[in-house]
Symmetry: C2
Subunit: 349 residues, 2 copies
DNA sequence: CGGCGAGATGTTTACGTCAACATGGACGGC
DNA sequence: GCCGTCCATGTTGACGTAAACATCTCGCCG
């Protein structure tokens, strides 16, 4: 009646013995498997003495519940998937961290699905690897979209929340309030007395970049100021540097709002190389507030966004959707904050 | 004979209907479940016509294999766990990305286990959540160790790879060649003619930081130079700045090796504030080569490490261990590269 | 032209867990 | 003292898959 050869070597070279199961614990404790199950799940209707005996047996044989069997049994996995592109990016890694923390705090685990390029094909591929498969819900964290009119299309039936500003999904959406942040940045510069504000935008495929650009433009227009031509970067310091070279050569430029801190860094370098003083000649505002920004030269005035809050809200929304099955509603918008450091000042007299 | 009520609403409010199973496909295609299984697993001994019929049926009913059932059946999960602390950190997020890419390329998926603090308790907790549970192996990516003599102790029986330099584990280990990198940095400065090199070290709980510090010291000693007192930071730009304040005030300091780029950034700021010219008065070398470093002011000379290679090797080693069951041997050491930019020059005359 | 092997397909069963139902003893009310 | 109840515990079966074994149909060779 041995369920399996007791000698591990009998079955071949690489066969790892399976861990002890409830049946093993049950035998050890002299109870039925069901009682072990009850103890493992903290049910109340078990005699204290029995519970103790079972717990001791578990410890003795080194029992760990088998999550696959559990998932099969209950049809739930207690885990959520995250589809992410550009993971090492400052914002994404921060957000992912927040998501992960929130998820494990709820006793769920998280399955990571990186995609190299955010195309329809890659994303749906990643999604279907997750779908109905190993996951109770998924969070999509993709910075840039390949957004022809055919928006990324996902099979329904699995709870999804998207971290993005676009309301074009029929999924719940969570994001930083991009427009609010860009407006703060622009107004700050205007308030200092600058005639107008130049802009280094992020890539147009990014909703976040577009939101910031539009809000910068709207703020300028609302204040009755001229809207200078936009320089477009790709978030990288390098692209900020290249845009900065042109800006630095133009004496009319006294204030620049860069769509993220990295591009602001590149801009700062270009300004230094052109011997344009910051903030004496040119004021610079970034967006993100990376840890480094406080130590740029000069320390960067920027818009702080709370990736932590974004991640937390996304998990909250997803878990609620999983719980209730309700495709919950209102997009969540996380506010930003202006942090003033040394890269902004009134324009030169 | 209905296996389940056909009306989804019958069983309650939030009950998500389970996806179609092999049995459903089998019925649809008019074959046995086993044949569906064979098709799903790409076995060859299926008639072409039958295979087509089954594939069509799968498409029609929207079949997706159930990974829980598979895992239960085969005792394998085709997924690996990553225990990680300080995920948003530059190096860690890069490494994680590389790991994730390598893992999915092998058709595995990855389960993320963040720990907030790298204590024995937290790590073993994370480990046991993973252990025998949902994962075929685990990669441990923890920057700082709480290293009293009781090294972090893991139950055996699950393949593990540690990303770290310390050989004190009885697990395979992969890491950047810290010593080599620090030696390159130090020698570069010496070669430029500096009398000696000062050092801003990372936190002593970090093996990487210790390795770099020791190697810096050894290089100096080997060259017969004085070893200046070490300043200790915690990797953050802020700590680099604070250490830099002291260094900037000391006219004897002409060359500094900072244990990472972020601290180098803080140092740069302190030097600017003290009006010490870089590289005219003081040369600075960092470690990591973050994307930003090329755009610091001045652009930073630094040691590039390949997080990508580290991640790839770690996955390789782990997968091999899973395959063969062999607790594979040799630690892997990934070489570094000196990248010279504008923050280093010969000492002032 | 009978038999034999190869390849396609079907049937049974076990993986570990837990809901649902079954059992059996203790206790209280009348 | 009889019966109804409640509680601890046991038994059965199903979740979806795939290995092992069984069967059935050919085609080919002697």
């Amino acid at each position: 009646m041995p369920r399996q050869s007791a000698t591990p070597s009998a079955s071949g070279h690489a066969a790892r013995r399976r861990g002890p199961s409830m049946a093993d614990v049950a035998r050890e404790a002299g109870v039925s498997g069901q009682t072990v199950s009850r103890v493992a799940n903290g049910k109340t209707n078990v005699d204290d003495a029995t519970r103790e005996r079972v717990l001791a047996a578990m410890r003795r044989v080194g029992y760990r519940p088998n999550s696959a069997a559990r998932a099969l049994r209950n049809g739930k996995f207690r885990s959520i998937g995250v589809i992410i592109s550009a993971l090492p990016t400052f914002g994404n890694s921060r957000t992912l961290d927040a998501i992960a923390a929130a998820v494990v705090a709820q006793g769920f685990s998280i399955i990571l699905m990186p995609v190299t390029r955010p195309t329809q094909g890659e994303v749906t591929g990643a999604f279907s690897k997750l779908n109905e498969q190993a996951v109770d819900g998924v969070i999509i964290l993709i910075e840039q979209h390949q957004l022809d009119q055919s928006e990324i299309e996902l099979p329904h039936g699995l709870p999804v929340v998207v971290i993005d500003s676009s309301a074009r999904y029929d999924y719940p959406v969570v994001d930083t309030d991009q427009a609010d942040g860009a407006a703060r940045a622009t107004r700050h510069l205007l308030d200092l007395g600058h005639e107008t504000v130049w802009h280094i935008a992020g890539p147009p495929q990014s909703y976040a970049a577009e939101r910031r650009r539009k809000s910068w433009q709207a703020t300028l227009t609302a204040a009755g100021r001229a809207v200078p031509p936009v320089r477009t970067g790709d978030w990288s310091p390098e692209s900020g540097y290249r845009a900065g070279l042109a800006l630095a050569a133009d004496p009319a430029v006294t204030a620049v709002f860069a769509a993220n801190d990295q591009m602001a860094l590149g801009l700062l370098r270009a300004l230094h190389e052109a011997a344009r003083n910051v903030p004496g000649d040119v004021s610079v505002v970034g967006f993100d507030d990376m840890e480094e920004s406080a130590h740029f030269w000069p320390p960067l005035t920027t818009i702080r966004q709370s990736f932590e809050a974004v991640g937390r809200h996304a998990v909250e929304a997803l878990l609620a959707e999983i719980e209730t099955g309700a495709e919950a509603g209102e997009p969540v918008s996380v506010p930003t904050e202006l942090v003033v450091r040394s890269s902004t000042a009134p324009p030169p007299a």
